[in-house]
């Protein structure tokens, strides 16, 4: 497939070949260096971002894990320079922490699955069934909530799920419950279910994007061919679409899974503080105790989980589809 690139004005091959002019002196030397040494070219391109990521980011992560090895002074509650493995042992063996982490992984997985279940048919409709003129409008509408802001949507969900109070106890005109209660007569209340629903709500656009992009790239001719070969739509879906979409789904799941895994603001607001639902809340409240070393030790859980998850998703080809 050839590409036509509009040559920008100023680059007239005949002109440049004839004239003795060219880039100013320093650039000429630079060009020579880059042409001669491919390595230099590569290194100069690569070093700023790699330096940034390694030293600023990975370095910070390493420092964080290291900080977990220091004891906390019990009176001033500041980290000391005394080395100890107690924090790590506590963080990794405490049964309530372990239970909480498993619960969080379950919730994050549920959110991911729900997001895929909603995004697939919706994206398929928009990409393959909806008429061309509707496509952009639909995609804009689906992605617009991304801009509304995390905090706004979190508080909106509080107003959505709040349960009905005893109306005789409530103030005048209040106590009818949140939007869901008054509109549908049912609400999950301040519960884990509400957390899952709200998280699905928040991250759905992040799953829609890669799946839509993946479906767009899927040539309709492929699907027609499958049909011509006798495959029913469901078979086509299973054998043609899904394998090709797997990388996109994997890419989307990186967002939904990790964003859900670490969230601590939404659960606190949507569960009304009744119980601690997500692991991020534990990290945050430990940090606020204040107990920085123990909080750092707790972060080992999500750190290890996400690194493992990334490896798995890479195998699924997610990295080419972000």
């Amino acid at each position: 497939m050839g590409e036509c690139v509009e040559l920008a004005p100023g680059l007239n091959p005949v002109e440049s070949a004839g004239e003795a002019s060219g880039p100013p002196q320093p650039f000429r030397a630079l060009n020579r260096v880059f042409r001669r040494r491919r390595r230099v070219g590569l290194l100069s391109l690569l070093s700023p971002p790699v330096f940034w990521m390694l030293f600023i980011y990975v370095g910070s992560l390493v420092l964080l894990v290291v900080s977990a090895f220091f004891a906390l002074d019990p009176i001033s509650q500041k980290p000391t320079t005394t080395f100890t493995t107690d924090n790590i042992t506590d963080a990794l063996t405490d049964s309530s922490a372990t239970r909480l982490f498993l619960q969080t992984v379950l919730i994050a997985s549920a959110v991911t699955i729900a997001c895929v279940a909603i995004a697939l048919p919706t994206a398929f409709f928009v990409a393959k069934i909806a008429p061309r003129w509707m496509r952009r409008g639909l995609m804009v509408s689906i992605l617009l909530p991304l801009w509304a802001g995390y905090m706004v949507k979190t508080y909106a969900w509080r107003a959505m799920v709040s349960p009905a109070g005893g109306s005789q106890f409530a103030a005048e005109g209040r106590g009818g419950g949140g939007f869901l209660q008054s509109a549908l007569g049912w609400t999950p209340g301040y519960s884990k279910t509400a957390v899952v629903i709200a998280l699905v709500y928040l991250w759905l656009p992040y799953m829609m994007l890669p799946i839509y992009a993946g479906l767009e790239r899927l040539p309709s001719s492929l699907l027609d061919a499958a049909g011509d070969l006798g495959a029913k739509p469901l078979r086509t879906f299973r054998s043609v679409i899904m394998p090709l979409l797997l990388p996109s789904i994997a890419a989307g799941s990186i967002f939904t899974f990790s964003l859900s895994l670490g969230d601590y603001i939404l659960p606190r607001l949507v569960v009304d503080g009744k119980e601690r639902v997500m692991f991020g809340e534990l990290i945050n409240s430990t940090l606020g105790a204040p107990n920085q070393p123990l909080a750092a030790a707790y972060t080992i859980w999500p750190l290890a989980m996400i690194i493992l998850y990334l490896f798995a998703m890479k195998r699924a080809g997610a990295f080419d589809n972000l």
């Binding site: 971002p49 992605l143 990790s258």
Partner: protein, 272 residues
């Protein structure tokens, strides 16, 4: 693939349902910005422009908006530069450890915000002694830009890589064959090629940075609030939460043309 009428209708209904799901809470927020009660619970009572008037006068959200915009712009700029450099390096060269390096870009956005946040906070709060001189990053506008740029790099990177993948490397060779020097090739061939990817990536990175709350909480300095921070801080006060709903609704409305633009420009790249 021939889809039956039934499946088309069903899928259409699902899509409608998704849109309904996505917009109802937003509508609740917008409705609450007109309520006459002071607290932010449902049901909203009455209609008043009181909060809109008050929001107009309050300096807090305005300053926060400006802060958010400036951090997002700066972070996007840095992320675009770093991401493009990385994309070219990864796409045009093969080298040892290339697969491992691709992890680096994704890590900041893949790790939960709270982990990134407290890691960076830990680093920024320390005084780093390098023998000859010591420095402390500290907290303020700069720490936010560093933090935001870090997780926005991957967005720019992905867009540029995707664009480069679609274009033939022969183009650059052709340009050289025609007598263009390295910098000329960059200016007249490479840059126009990736420009659309830069814009699309830039808008997405901007959106990410603008909306970010978790990492921001840990890496911001005292007195410097971004808009999400302002919203978070003020919902917890028995202040007029109505004002916060107004701010939220305003941001939503303002984002409509921008989202449309982003989609337009994103598609524009593909059509070419």
């Amino acid at each position: 693939m021939r889809t039956s009428l039934l499946s088309r209708v069903v899928l259409g209904l699902i899509t409608l349902g998704t849109l309904l799901f996505l917009y109802t809470p937003l509508w609740v927020v917008a409705r609450l910005s007109f309520t006459t009660t002071k607290s932010v619970s449902w049901p909203a009572k009455g209609w008043t422009l009181q909060w809109w008037r008050e929001a107009w006068k309050t300096e807090g959200p305005r300053d926060a908006l400006v802060n958010s915009l400036s951090v997002a712009l700066a972070a996007t700029a840095v992320a675009l530069v770093l991401g493009t450099l990385a994309a070219f390096a990864m796409q045009r060269f093969t080298f040892f450890g290339r697969n491992s390096v691709s992890f680096l870009w994704v890590l900041p956005i893949a790790l939960p915000g709270i982990v990134t946040g407290i890691a960076l906070q830990n680093t920024f709060s320390r005084t780093i002694d390098l023998g000859l001189f010591s420095f402390r990053v500290g907290f303020g506008f700069h720490s936010l830009v560093i933090a935001h740029a870090t997780f926005c790099v991957v967005v720019a990177y992905n867009n540029v890589v995707a664009r480069l993948r679609r274009s033939s490397p022969n183009l650059l060779e052709a340009s050289a064959d025609l007598g263009a020097h390295g910098t000329q090739t960059f200016r007249y061939v490479t840059f126009p090629l990736v420009r659309s990817a830069l814009v699309a990536g830039g808008i997405l990175a901007f959106a990410l940075s603008f909306d970010e709350i978790v990492v921001t909480t840990f890496t911001s300095g005292s007195g410097f609030l971004t808009l999400p921070q302002w919203i978070y801080a003020n919902f917890a006060r028995p202040k007029s939460p109505g004002v916060v709903n107004v701010v939220a609704t305003f941001v939503m409305l303002m984002s409509i043309p921008i989202a449309w633009l982003a989609q337009r420009l994103g598609d524009g790249g593909v059509d070419q």
